[in-house]
Structures are given as C-alpha cells and as structure tokens.
Symmetry: C2
Subunit: 354 residues, 2 copies
C-alpha cells in the first residue's frame, strides 16, 4: 500500500445490497455496488479521494454540468480469476486518456495515483461484487464533471471525480447490425471527438434512434465533410477484414483512441495477421462486400470487447456478413479475454493486479 492508498479514507456502508442482486441476469450498468469513490477539486487543487457508501449527489442548480456539458468519463472492467484474484486491463492507459479528455474539456487533470490507487482501494472493498459467470463482468465507471456554479459560459472552478462500479451483463445481446451514416456526424475536425466527453454521446442518440427505427443497432460514423471515410461506431472502434487483412482507421482528433482497438492491433501483429492502420472508404467496403472479399467487420471497445457485425446498411441496401468458422473477431476476443481473466500468458504486460 503506498502513501496515497494510505490517505484514502473509507466510510463503510452499514448494510450491503449484494443479496438483492441476481448475478445470473445482469443487464448492462443498471445495478451499482455498495460504495463509490469521490474526490473534489476546490480552491485550485484535488482533495484526497474518499470512499463512501453509494449515495446521491447533491448539486446547486447552477452547477456547470447542467448547462455546459463539462464532463468526461472512462469505461473499464475488473476481472476475477479462478484463484479469486482481481485484475485490471491496461488501467494506466485509461488514466492517460482520461487526462487527455480532461485537458480538451478544460477540466483539471487527476493525478495518476488518485485514479489508480483510488480504484484499487475501491475494488478491494467491493471484490465480492465481481461476477464470475461467463459474459458478465464488473464494469468500472470513472467520471469527472463541473460542479462549480454560475451561468457564465466558462470553465467551472470546482469539479468532482468519481468512480462507480456496476456488475454487468453483455452490452449487446444478439447480432449487431449497423448503418453507415450518410447525413449526421459525430465529430468535427479540430473538435472533441477524440475525448470521452459526455456531449459526444448525447449527440449520437438521435441519429442512432433513427437507425434503430430502421432495424439497426448502431451507427457507423463517417467524416462530416464527405461521409466517405469510416470513422468509429460511437461506443466502439471499427475493424474490417478484407481477404485476410485486418484494417482499422487511424485515430485522429475525431476518433477515440480505443484501448481494445490498440490491443487488437498488437495481438494481430503477434499472431502474424496482416494488419493495416489506414483510412477506409465506404466505397471500398461496399465493393468488397459485393465481390466477396469482405470477410468480417467487428466493433472493439471495453463494454462489448469484440462485437461481430452481422450486417451493415448503406444507401438503402443491407449487406450480410455470414459468420465465419474461425473469425478474427472470435480469435481476438478469446485472446483478450484470456489475458483479462488471467487464463493465458500476458506477453504484452497489460494485466494489472489489484
């Protein structure tokens, strides 16, 4: 236990809700554990994090979170192995990206030890909440928002950093059908698309609902200028397999630097799969679908890990992607999950013991 971990105060909940939870039928992110971490930024500095019973947040109506969308978050998971040990997957990358998001949204950066040691202290307390059933996991939600007051459209002077935990089932249930978007956009050049900023998600809801009405689960975003380049799927980065080559778009100021995405690139390289990080045009994907060289498409993200795409829609036509017996999607998912759950060797050094 280091200095920071020693300083973190823990106020325990008087009773636990754990007996009320049906761990065999978990939805995604709708049940929360007994405790949470809270850390306040006041007078120009972060105070020491505290762990307290899970409880409501009380804020002034003029708190800037309600008005100016100054908020960011991360998505992570905790895994329990057969021996009962708890693991995180590349948590320092989440912390790093959290601060990249913070900087872009003019939110003060959170020190690494507050984020990592705070999370580990919370996880040790809540270890019984980590599901061990197949497909379930303990979803971790670090988030940070403007609690400071005032209607002036400028950065707040007070912030809250929090971590909540939610034992969760699968993010998607069933096959994922996506629509390649031709009207709406997720992000601008020089905008905030690379940040995990709250507003990036709300802006996707309406176009996604339109797609859902047409029978799709998610939208694949394209660039806002030509709608010709495939970007990401909002909650996932996108991979395309043409013949035997795995392709994903480069990260940019419009595309989130996904941790599952970069893990897949490294695993593919390790397994000798040809992998290209380059711009992908919609035309190229449609042509490949037509001539049969498009073998797979899948999404990659913390919540869904790897999510095979069963079909995509474009220009009012649906293109089916039949399931392959030995798909890259399944190979990648198994390899990542085996590392996450300490079932396989971790040559990359991604696993981190809690």
């Amino acid at each position: 236990m280091n200095d920071t971990a020693q300083k973190i105060t823990v106020e325990k909940a008087q009773t636990s809700k754990i007996d009320q939870v049906d761990f065999d039928n978990l939805s995604f992110g709708s049940v929360f554990t007994d405790h949470m971490l809270v850390c306040d930024y006041k007078n120009g500095a972060w105070e020491t994090p505290k762990i307290i019973p899970y409880q409501p947040i009380t804020l002034e109506p003029s708190s800037k979170i309600f008005h100016y969308g100054q908020s960011i978050f991360e998505g992570m998971k905790a895994y329990k192995d057969a021996a009962g040990d708890t693991w995180l997957f590349r948590p320092f990358d989440n912390h790093k990206r959290f601060n990249i998001s913070a900087k872009r949204m003019s939110i003060p950066e959170i020190p690494e030890e507050y984020f990592i040691e705070g999370l580990k202290t919370l996880l040790r307390l809540e270890k019984d909440w980590i599901p061990q059933s197949e497909g379930s996991s303990l979803y971790i939600r670090p988030f940070m928002f403007a609690s400071g007051k005032g209607f002036h459209a400028s950065p707040a002077d007070e912030y809250k950093f929090m971590i909540c935990l939610a034992p969760s089932g699968a993010y998607f249930s069933g096959k994922v059908k996506v629509l390649i978007e031709q009207t709406y956009s997720r992000s601008a050049n020089g905008g905030v698309g690379y940040a995990k900023a709250g507003g990036n998600y709300a802006g996707q809801f309406y176009p996604t609902q339109l797609a859902v009405k047409k029978g799709y689960n998610q939208v694949i975003w394209t660039d806002d200028n030509t709608h010709e380049y495939i970007e990401e799927a909002g909650a996932m980065n996108i991979f395309v397999r043409i013949k035997d080559t795995l392709i994903t778009g480069p990260t940019s100021d419009r595309i989130l630097d996904g941790i599952t995405r970069k893990s897949i690139i490294e695993i593919a390289k390790d397994e000798g799969i040809p992998v290209e990080v380059r711009k992908i045009t919609v035309t190229e994907v449609v042509d490949a679908a037509k001539n049969g060289s498009l073998k797979e498409m899948f999404g990659a993200g913390t919540a869904a890990v790897v999510s095979p795409i069963a079909a995509f829609g474009y220009n009012d036509t649906d293109y089916d992607l039949p399931e392959l017996p030995n798909s890259y999607a399944r190979r990648m998912k198994e390899r990542i999950i085996d590392i996450q759950y300490n079932k396989a060797e971790d040559i990359f050094g991604w696993r981190h013991k809690v």
Copy 2:
C-alpha cells in the same frame, strides 16, 4: 390565468435573500432568486411544473447527465418598464428553439404552456428581483437534462426541466477582442452545432482559454473543413459591416439560430440598412480590414445583446476596428433595448407582457 397556470403549484420560500444582494454591482449569472421552477418527465410524460424555493438538486451518480451530456438550455431576459410592468422578448421563439435542441439531443419536448406559463408564474413571484439599473437585467435560464439512471449509452427515461433566474450585470466588461480560429472547431456538418446543447459549450472552453492567453476575449469559429468561413462566436452570432452593408452568415446545422441575430436582420431591413445573409469568408473580412472598407464587427446574443468588436486577430496579426460615431452596433442595440424595456413602439410584435 389559463388552465396550466392554475395547475402550477407554488411553494414559497420562508425567507428572501433579496436584501443580501448588491444590485448596483452584479456580475453575470452568479446570484439566484428565491424560487425556481421544476418539472419532471417520468413514465413517458411531463408532470405539472412546480415552483419551489431555490435549492440543490439531488441525483443518482448514474444519472445520464453526468455521463452522456444529454442537456440543453436557453438564455432569456426579463425587463421591467418605468410603470413597473414586466416584459419578455420573443419568448415563444426561445421555446421553439428549446424543443428543436431537445429533439436533436433525444430529450422529450416540453409543452409550450409549461414553458411560457411556468416562466410567467415564476416571474410574477420574483418581480422584485428584476434590476432596473442601466446595463443590468434579470437573466432567465431554462434548462433540461437527463436525470434517468444507467451506464448504457442511450437516451435516459427521466428528465428534469427547470428555470432559474439570476439578476445579472453585463456579460462582457470593456472592449471585446476576438480571435478568428484556424485550428479548433465548434461543430460538424450533420452535428449538433445548431442546438443549445451543453457539450457545444464545454468544447469551446479550451480553445477559448488559449485565445484568452494571447489577449483575446472570444473566438470566432470557422467551418471545420477549411477554416475559411466565419460561423459564430459561441455565445454570439457575428455581424460584419463592409462599407454600409451589414452581413451575417446563414444559419445551418452548425450555427445557432440566434434570436438577437434575426431581430437585427429585421430591424436593419426596417431601417433601410442594406443587409445580406450569406457566407462570409475570412479572406473577405481581412481584405476589407486592410483596404478600410470593414467598418464594424459585432456579436449578437441574448446575454450581451450587441457586443461591438474592438479588434480581431488572424494569422498572428491584429486588426483594429476604431469606434464609429454612429455605428450600426449602437443603433441596433438601442433599438432592441428600447423595445425590450417598453420605451419604444414595437412594430414587430416581439414584446410579451408577463
């Protein structure tokens, strides 16, 4: 009093804070009146609005406002005339735009009578809070956000609509110096720039802070693709006067349909000022500044009304705009304020009695 107004319940504050307020030294949006309006969306419907004492909001940590930026707002003002009557300026336009923003952010639309009658009931109760000193006003902040729970990135099932009031001084103090932005962007084609969505504002803070460090007050946003077209200033629409013609950019899915902006267009037409609504290039403005045909630039918005721009920066060069004796900016501001405060005839039908 109509049916809705009769249904609105009012719980009065036991004591008033009004004696603690220095009405001669008000900053912008940092002091709040004794009451606020709250209206909850639950089980697929808006409940009847309530007026209650101004008080903190209590929310679950998983409320979607903290995670996915599902929030919108409006900015309005209440004006008191010499006879003590209270007036609003084009309030139905604010309501209409509020619902346009709501739709884009997948937030249920609020009925007109809840917005208008709710606001009027609140204003009648708080009429003593409306400042009558020059340059001060009662700023009105209607806002709406996702209070529903859960970490799934999808629209919430519960929302809160609220109105708070803040007696306020000037938004800008002193001359406004702006920077024409060449790197960062405010909005995307097909994005949410036309909505008064929270995230649109937080995304501007970092580039604005960079501009402030260089000595500017605000950024003038340009299109994200070429940075060659002038769009808006984030909290204001932009007008340019070249020779005697007043020019402003057209509204689009990237630019807010400002109520002060459209009022100025109508006033200019009424006064016989040549006015053009068309795309403005940065090159055109810089050239006009160089050859002396650029007479004025000003911002237009509810908070600042009309804000004359004293200088703009572009490509590391500052272009000064000396104050004109009979500027359009002053003419427009006086004409609008005279209508707002019931000092002049309102041929447009913009004034609305509370």
